[in-house]
Symmetry: C2
Subunit: 429 residues, 2 copies
């Protein structure tokens, strides 16, 4: 074992950072044995220096994160601040001053992963970020290492615990969206401003990262089609149950039709109860991976929280620490496939559409004709009368999003169609 310690700076000391510091202290001997050298907490950059931080030497605490990463004697910088700036500048500066970086920053990786990887490579350092996607669940490493000899075709996952908690609550109690959100907020599963979660921004960042790694190409956050789950209703869950389905907010990354492009999207979708993702409860995350040789794999676990995220950060810390000692670097960005990202219109899937229609003869024929004209084949139709109006539930065969969009646009113009109550994709069949 090397006796000179690896010097680690911690940027951010909130829920995750404080847990990283705690485990680094309490499990110091184990970490040293696994890395091959002791690790030393060399500095902790925080915004509020006066806050009492149990177990952290106040002499290590600084508000000047930039000065910390410029020290030049750091081996590893752990970035758990989140957000774009100052995280981006700090990571870049860390590389310039010879440190490797472990980050949990999904937003930054999704937006600027390529530039950060390039900076790491330029300086011969590592950039690891297992904690950026699905918390403690090993996912980045399995995708970029374990499956490196395979061809991944699809990644289908529940990667946001807040929205899964809300949807699970709606499913099991019949609650509406607002009621379930209120409970999630009260229990600390949702933030005061839940926008990033419920509008799918968080999941979209993870989808961009996963798609890039899975398909060895570059997928930017803007490439990801994103729909939130705020408009999912109790009625949608009732419809899903009739289909033998439940509703999940899914991140879906796929090779498109001929394999020459990829797609990435986040939206609520019906998924059969028999699918392993359907039984992922509460704030848990799970990601389904389909590949040529391995077939179907699933990775399941807590997707967030201080300790689970710290577990992922520290796993990376051990790997990066070993690399520092041996003078090697781990796998960098693998984007050689350079596949274009197809627009949402080219995504092919099935749809569940609820229409409010006039309750008179010929309406079904009229509606069916519109589907046919747009080349969207109908699987099943269910018609229900209610108070002079009727509802029509159409489930389609596989069709492109563009064709479905055109169908719905035409349907909306029909006099006999009073409204489109909901459109939901059906996945995982």
């Amino acid at each position: 074992m090397r006796t000179r310690p690896l010097k680690v700076a911690l940027l951010g000391c909130g829920v995750v950072g404080s847990e990283v510091a705690r485990i680094m202290t309490t499990h110091a001997d184990d970490l040293a044995a696994r890395i091959g050298a002791p690790v030393e907490l060399a500095g902790v950059a925080v915004r509020r220096p006066d806050k009492v931080r149990e177990g952290i030497d106040p002499a290590l605490v600084t508000t000047d994160a930039t000065a910390l990463v410029k020290r030049g004697d750091l081996d590893i910088v752990v970035e758990v601040i989140g957000g774009i700036e100052p995280a981006r500048a700090l990571i870049t500066t860390a590389f310039e001053h010879g440190a490797s970086v472990v980050s949990a920053n999904k937003a930054l990786l999704a937006q600027d992963g390529a530039a950060l990887h390039a900076a790491a490579e330029e300086h011969g350092r590592d950039l690891y970020y297992e904690a950026a996607v699905a918390g403690a669940i090993p996912l980045i490493r399995p995708l970029r290492e374990s499956l490196a000899g395979d061809k991944v075709n699809r990644v289908l996952g529940i990667v946001n615990g807040t929205t899964n908690f809300i949807l699970d609550k709606m499913d099991t109690t019949g609650a509406g969206y607002q009621e379930a959100l209120d409970e999630a907020t009260a229990l600390g599963y949702a933030e005061a401003d839940p926008t990033a979660d419920v509008e799918g921004f968080d999941a979209a960042a993870k989808a961009a990262i996963l798609a890039g790694i899975a398909f060895h190409t570059r997928v930017r956050l803007d490439d990801v089609h994103r729909e939130g789950m705020t408009e999912v209703t109790a009625a949608d869950f009732a419809s899903a149950k009739e289909m033998g389905c439940t509703i999940k907010l899914l991140a879906i990354c796929e090779r498109a039709g001929d394999g020459a492009s990829v797609t990435a999207r986040v939206h609520p979708a019906m998924i059969p109860l028999s699918h392993p993702l359907a039984s992922v409860r509460g704030a848990y995350n799970a990601v389904f991976v389909e590949s040529d040789a391995a077939g179907q794999l699933m990775f399941y676990g807590p997707g967030a929280g201080g300790a689970p995220t710290a577990s992922a950060v520290l796993g990376d810390l051990v790997a990066v620490g070993r690399n520092r000692i041996s003078g090697a670097t781990g796998p960098g960005e693998s984007a050689y496939a350079a596949l274009p990202v197809s627009p949402m219109g080219e995504v092919v899937t099935r749809y569940h559409i609820s229409l409010d229609v006039a309750d008179k003869p010929g309406v079904l024929a009229q509606v069916a004709t519109v589907f046919a004209e747009h080349g969207v084949s109908i699987d099943t139709v269910r018609q229900q009368g209610k108070d002079g109006e009727a509802s029509l539930v159409v489930v389609t065969h596989r069709a492109s999003d563009a064709a479905l969009g055109g169908t719905v646009e035409t349907l909306r113009k029909l006099d006999t169609v009073r409204g489109v109550a909901s459109i939901m994709r059906v996945e995982g069949e």
Copy 2:
């Protein structure tokens, strides 16, 4: 990209080996891009040289595996022969002649992992074996890398597809063991001699490997308590259903009571239907991992088969190939914790015991007294009369295996106890 190819020798060209060779050929460009150098199949050692092997140049085929691994120009040797010898000698010789090794050999790793790791280290080479446990499911790498900064407390898994297929069939159809085994054999899920699977030898080898990696200690095959599943009956499944459980053959590796030792065991057990492992169907595998910081993780996928196993082998091939180019080695054996393995008697769990007893007053009191005398606390008792005899189903609270064993021994001596119909552990609660 390096232009000089990495030379790979393949030992064994059966179901797995031929799939490895096929993917190496058809995905050569992808593998080269991911490794940073082309890979060249430099030789294939087989037992039957005359067999036609599609896509493999006959000039590469040899029956002299020893001469192949002694060539001295090999970068990587892929061992998919299985069994102890000649695999062990060939791997050792490969290290001596400068090659790194990728193996899928669970029996050998479980028996001689320490010596093989030592040989790899002595020669500065890699020994990777993701394919040895749970086929395509990334498990070795997550345990030894992703969770390297965490403390794993328990590994609980279905790691044998054949027995899971049989037990699932018994569960869903009510079939007996022999009938379900016959179907597994007919469908190719069980081998003509199913001993290694149904008697738990295969699962025990995997348990030894998993326990060693999870707890950073050395666990040999002989340290693993092993019970097969040939005596599980349709009546056991009926009892399990009454408990809200199903029956799985589980590999269980745990830290023992005070954390100063570990245990590893393979046996059939009841597991609640609400546990994620309960819904693992057919020949699939799944492994549940519990750790201090990450909490509960699950890894799920196909546990065997040519293509899935090849996926794991090729993932290792890419990692080892990258290491060859950079001159680094990946993580070797981590056994620094050097924890003793406690005997089965010290394992603490719950038990479901079915007794055939005389149908007369006082029997229950007598039986309950025996449990009390051995310090085994009873959770529930259910008594059912049938034809002058009665059956007594006792479910205990947590107790040591030794205490339970003593209890059963005393029970067998009671005149009023006609027989012990079954004893089944209850796990995953």
